[in-house]
């Protein structure tokens, strides 16, 4: 029951959807994602999950941004999930919105899901996951630095790769190299 | 036997003494220069490298080139440093290093030896002054690495002076004299032979304390390059840096010479001339220190202090007790 409709500019999060026989791996992953969705919605209400699907072979769940931290905490703590290890955190600028994705792994159950959320590009802001997973501290700082997503509740939100005077967010698609022309005495060098 | 002390101080004698001192100084500078070369070669060989081989045949003039380079370098004094202390600190460190060499009996003739009756005491007392130079240098640089290095050095050297002094006591008790020349002469006739045999515990303690005194690996914390860059002489350049370097190597030579004198029978030995015996034994001790340097990682600072106070000093005390008992019974 995954939603096939996506904004036109964004690459589809579901591959192989047009293929005549759907990939059994994708079907299984989507089914698993739906199961998890039901479990989340039972706890956090119907609006918590916005979309389910599969990223290639991995179940994908998209969560409403305001429920982001709660749902991830639930996934970590709930006995049937126990997704306690963050493998990857990545942000992507899709021109209309910014998507944040984490890949969660369960040490106990040896299972693997991807959880995402979206935030508008201007005044991009999301609840921080650092209180839940201390290991995403720097990853969030990197997303803040390069994509300009503000993480609320992050203990130490500073630029990490670029220096503090840097203008703009390099990984955004509309970023221009000319914003940071080195100057000498007010004149471009 | 010829001794400067038993002669009246005539003008001729005075000139002789001055010439003697200068000759010893010159020889020692040469020795120290080649000590550095020796160190680099030994460590290189142990690490499957060739070592210095560019300047002169087999790289023999490498140290000379290094010294020349250091002398020609700009003498930089950091703007925020305590200028007067910064300038004088290397000299304070360096002068006692050369002075202690006056009491070492190099040969059976020992015409260039002061022959002080308190030779051992003189050595230990003077070598403590160097710490002052190191702490001052570290403090005056106004650099955090230097400060930490200087203070570590002070703590380390003061702690290890105690076991060093105590380990020598055993020898002094056996020889019944503080005069280094007498100590060597006693070893020729002692019933145990050289003092390394009855004083083996003392020797081990002495060697460990000596390595620590010299800030050599594994006790090279004051200049631990992975933590403190270069420790107390981080900010020093040119010949002031060379002074610290020289101090270190002169002490290396001096303490090896002292170990030879106290435990290994000094110049004693059959067939070969006495100065050669002395040189061989000293070189062996020096080689051992370089060997350690090529093998060991560095101790940690708190373990280092603990080791001095909890292990070395009790062992040294026990050694004194044992020596006393031994000389009573045997």
């Amino acid at each position: 029951m995954s939603e096939e409709k996506k904004p036109a500019a964004a690459p589809a999060a579901k591959p192989a959807k047009a293929a005549a026989p759907p990939d059994p791996r994708v079907v299984a992953a989507t089914a698993l994602a739906d199961e998890i969705r039901a479990s989340i919605e039972a706890r956090h209400g119907a609006g918590a999950v916005e979309e389910t699907g599969a990223a290639k072979t991995i179940p994908m769940i998209r969560i409403a941004p305001d429920k982001w931290r709660d749902v991830v905490t639930f996934l970590r703590d709930s006995e049937d999930h126990r997704y306690d290890y963050v493998e990857l955190m990545a942000g992507t600028d899709y021109k209309d919105y910014i998507e944040l994705v984490i890949y969660l792994y369960s040490m106990k159950r040896d299972a693997y899901i991807t959880v995402k959320t979206r935030t508008p590009r201007d005044a991009a802001s999301l609840p921080s996951l650092t209180p839940v997973f201390p290991g995403v501290n720097w990853e969030e700082r990197e997303v803040y630095d390069l994509l300009g997503v503000h993480f609320e509740g992050h203990p130490d939100l500073r630029r990490i790769m670029m220096w503090d005077e840097w203008k703009g967010y390099p990984l955004r698609k509309d970023y221009s190299d000319f914003d940071n022309i080195p100057t000498r005495g007010g004149e471009p060098r | 036997m010829f001794s400067w002390q038993t002669q009246p101080l005539t003008g001729l004698n005075f000139i002789g003494m001055v010439i003697g001192a200068v000759v010893v100084l010159a020889i020692l500078l040469l020795v120290v220069m080649y000590l550095i070369f020796f160190l680099r070669k030994v460590v290189a060989w142990m690490q499957n490298r060739i070592g210095p081989n560019r300047v002169g045949p087999w790289g023999l003039f490498q140290s000379m080139a290094d010294v020349l380079k250091l002398l020609l370098k700009e003498d930089i004094v950091p703007a925020k440093a305590d200028r007067a202390l910064f300038l004088v600190a290397p000299i304070i460190a360096f002068v006692p290093a050369f002075t202690v060499l006056a009491v070492i009996p190099y040969t059976a003739g020992h015409i260039f030896t002061a022959g002080l009756n308190i030779g051992v005491l003189f050595y230990i007392a003077l070598s403590s002054i160097t710490i002052l130079g190191i702490v001052l240098g570290g403090w005056a640089s106004n650099n955090k690495y230097s400060l930490v290095g200087g203070l570590r050095s002070a703590a380390q050297m003061i702690s290890y002076e105690i076991p060093l002094g105590m380990s020598v006591l055993g020898v002094v008790m056996l020889a019944g004299s503080l005069n280094l020349t007498t100590i060597v002469q006693q070893q020729a006739t002692d019933r145990f032979g050289w003092y390394i045999i009855p004083q083996i515990i003392g020797f081990v303690v002495f060697m460990i304390a000596a390595v620590a005194e010299l800030n050599q690996t594994p006790f090279d914390l004051p200049e631990a390059e992975s933590e403190l860059v270069a420790g107390y002489f981080t900010e020093y350049t040119g010949f002031r840096f060379a002074f610290y370097m020289l101090t270190e190597f002169v002490y290396l030579f001096a303490i090896s010479a002292l170990a030879t004198t106290l435990f290994l029978g000094g110049w004693l030995g059959p067939w070969l001339p006495s100065w050669l015996w002395f040189a061989i034994k000293t070189s062996a001790v020096i080689f051992f220190m370089f060997w350690l340097r090529a093998t060991m990682p560095r101790l940690r600072v708190d373990k280092l202090m603990g080791f001095a106070w909890k292990v070395l000093i009790p062992v040294a005390l026990f050694n004194i007790l044992l020596t006393g008992l031994l000389s009573l019974l045997v």
């Binding site: - | 499957n48 060997w291 090529a294």
Partner: protein, 179 residues
């Protein structure tokens, strides 16, 4: 204590081992055949297909060409900027005629940045000392000569009238081998 002694034994054992230092400026390292050093460029082989410039990840290659009298593309300029070249070998991989390839030249230190812009002539000259192209050509010429000599011997044995050496055959064989 025992561990320390064991360690001391290991370092002492190394004293007499063979030393591994390479006396670099006097003894040059011998590079394997595939070594990726600075390029050599053979202008007569280039067909100006632009593939190398397109595949280059750092865009350090710039080239231009024009059609000659025979309507064949000829290279006019070919520059590699070694300030940014990362010697990744992709240009060599895509080149259909092997006009550009890697040599075992690795010494690129220079006193000014301008010297890192290597043009066609420099790259061509580079093949003389370091490239494989020259050696390849020589081997081919040698083979061609031997072939010619063999043929000639056969001919001489067969019929005496065949006279004169055949440099034409040799060069033909060489150019034939290039494509």
């Amino acid at each position: 204590m025992f561990g320390i002694l064991k360690g001391l034994g290991v370092t002492f054992g190394q004293l007499t081992k063979k030393k591994v230092t390479l006396q670099y400026p006097e003894v040059k390292p011998v590079w394997p055949e595939r070594f990726r050093g600075i390029h050599e460029f053979i202008p007569e082989l280039c067909i100006v297909c632009n593939q190398c410039a397109r595949i280059c990840p750092t865009s350090c290659i710039s080239l231009s060409g024009s059609r000659d009298a025979n309507k064949k593309m000829r290279i006019d300029t070919y520059d590699i900027n070694f300030e940014i070249c990362i010697l990744c070998d992709l240009c060599v991989e895509v080149c259909p005629t092997e006009a550009i390839r890697m040599t075992d030249q690795f010494e690129l230190a220079a006193y000014s940045r301008e010297e890192f812009y290597k043009d066609m002539h420099w790259l061509y000259d580079n093949h003389k000392e370091h490239g494989t192209y020259h050696a390849l050509q020589e081997a081919k010429e040698q083979a061609a000569k031997e072939q010619a000599a063999k043929e000639q011997a056969a001919k001489e044995a067969g019929a005496k009238e065949q006279a004169g050496r055949e440099p034409v055959a040799a060069s033909e064989a060489a150019t034939g081998g290039e494509t």
